[in-house]
């Protein structure tokens, strides 16, 4: 089982039935798995705040949801996280490509990487950082935790986790 298949299987095991995505090169494999999985309804979004709105609606409709996005999206979605997901107390697992970390070839990505954890901490969002593939063993627990506490939860997955960006 590839890491993309493992993550997708964990989402399904957590009864997540709708996933919205905004792509990142590192997430291409898992997005493809999600798209092809018969038990997941995949709705690609044009922007991550739109995706979070779709997730909020799906959850209120009785379907657990999750978003897959890049860490630059934290800059896009702060208002949505505070005034929709947190204000109305909704669970939202966020599988995030943590660009700008070790093995990053694009300097500009570092500019948001240095703010990513600080912004998540400022928002009191529980945050987990996957640096090695073994770290993903905790994903089922993180998903259970998210739906237990009805909060947005960030899972940062860096280039090392994915086997390097551009040098793999």
């Amino acid at each position: 089982m590839t890491i993309d298949q493992k993550i997708t299987a964990d989402l399904v095991a957590a009864k997540i039935g709708l996933v919205t995505t905004v792509p990142c090169k590192q997430l291409a494999g898992v997005i493809e798995e999600v798209d092809q999985h018969p038990e997941i309804h995949h709705i690609p979004a044009n922007k991550e705040d739109e995706g979070m709105g779709i997730c909020a609606g799906a959850w209120m409709g009785g379907t657990r949801s999750a978003i897959i996005m890049q860490n630059t999206a934290i800059g896009v979605t702060i208002n949505t996280l505070a005034t929709l997901i947190q204000f109305y107390r909704m669970p939202l697992p966020m599988l995030i490509s943590y660009r700008g970390e070790l093995r990053e070839p694009v300097a500009c990505q570092v500019e948001m990487a240095v703010h990513t954890k600080a912004l998540l901490a400022q928002l009191n969002i529980p945050t987990y950082h996957f640096h090695k593939q073994a770290d993903a063993e905790e994903l089922p627990m993180i998903l259970d935790y998210t739906f237990m506490c009805n909060k947005p939860v960030a899972i940062l997955t860096d280039a090392n986790f994915w086997g390097g960006y551009g040098d793999q």
Binding site: G51, G57, Y88
Partner: protein
């Protein structure tokens, strides 16, 4: 007609449906006119009513009516291609297009000038798009409910707001009773 007059007129149609209502004065007006557990009032997050409604429509079979505004759709224009490419048959987006940002002092939006949300929705891939005048809204909405097809309604009306109180209900209460109405 202004938005509050339209809402008063369509309130009997909305009463039995799941309604996601746009931030600010639209939610205040709907709340004052006919508060229902089946109304989800947005207290913040401008622009996302159409997205919340779309997720809701895909997650369960009951009809979902989103009451949105031209300014809010303009701020989340990516929503139109997403709706067009992921049509839910039970989804109705009612854009009350009064050509102004009502909740912030009626500053003009571009739909009062050269921009047509009707044409943009069509170009985005939405198959059933109906533009109507304010007086026709009730009939067009009932048609859309009967059609059972993803519909975008662009309702052209006059700019203006009714003076209604701010919603003080706790957001978790709004959300919880709404989820109860979804399950009922």
């Amino acid at each position: 007609m202004i938005r509050s007059e339209i809402l008063k007129e369509i309130a009997p149609i909305l009463r039995d449906q799941l309604v996601v209502c746009n931030i600010g004065i639209p939610s205040q007006e709907l709340h004052a006119i006919d508060d229902q557990a089946s109304n989800f009032y947005m207290l913040g997050t401008m622009g996302l009513a159409s997205s919340i409604g779309l997720g809701l429509a895909h997650a369960q079979p009951k009809p979902v009516i989103v009451i949105d505004g031209d300014g809010s759709v303009l701020t989340n224009l990516g929503t139109l291609p997403t709706i067009g490419n992921n049509p839910a048959p039970n989804y109705i987006l009612l854009i009350v297009d009064n050509g102004s940002y009502g909740s912030t002092g009626d500053q003009p939006t571009y739909t009062g000038r050269k921009t047509s949300l009707t044409e943009m929705a069509r170009a985005a891939g939405c198959d059933r798009v109906v533009e109507c005048q304010a007086e026709e809204t009730g009939a067009v909405l009932e048609d859309a409910l009967a059609a059972g097809q993803c519909t975008v309604i662009v309702c052209k009306c006059e700019s203006g707001n009714a003076k209604m109180p701010v919603i003080t209900m706790d957001p978790v209460v709004i959300r919880d009773r709404f989820m109860g109405a979804v399950k009922a």
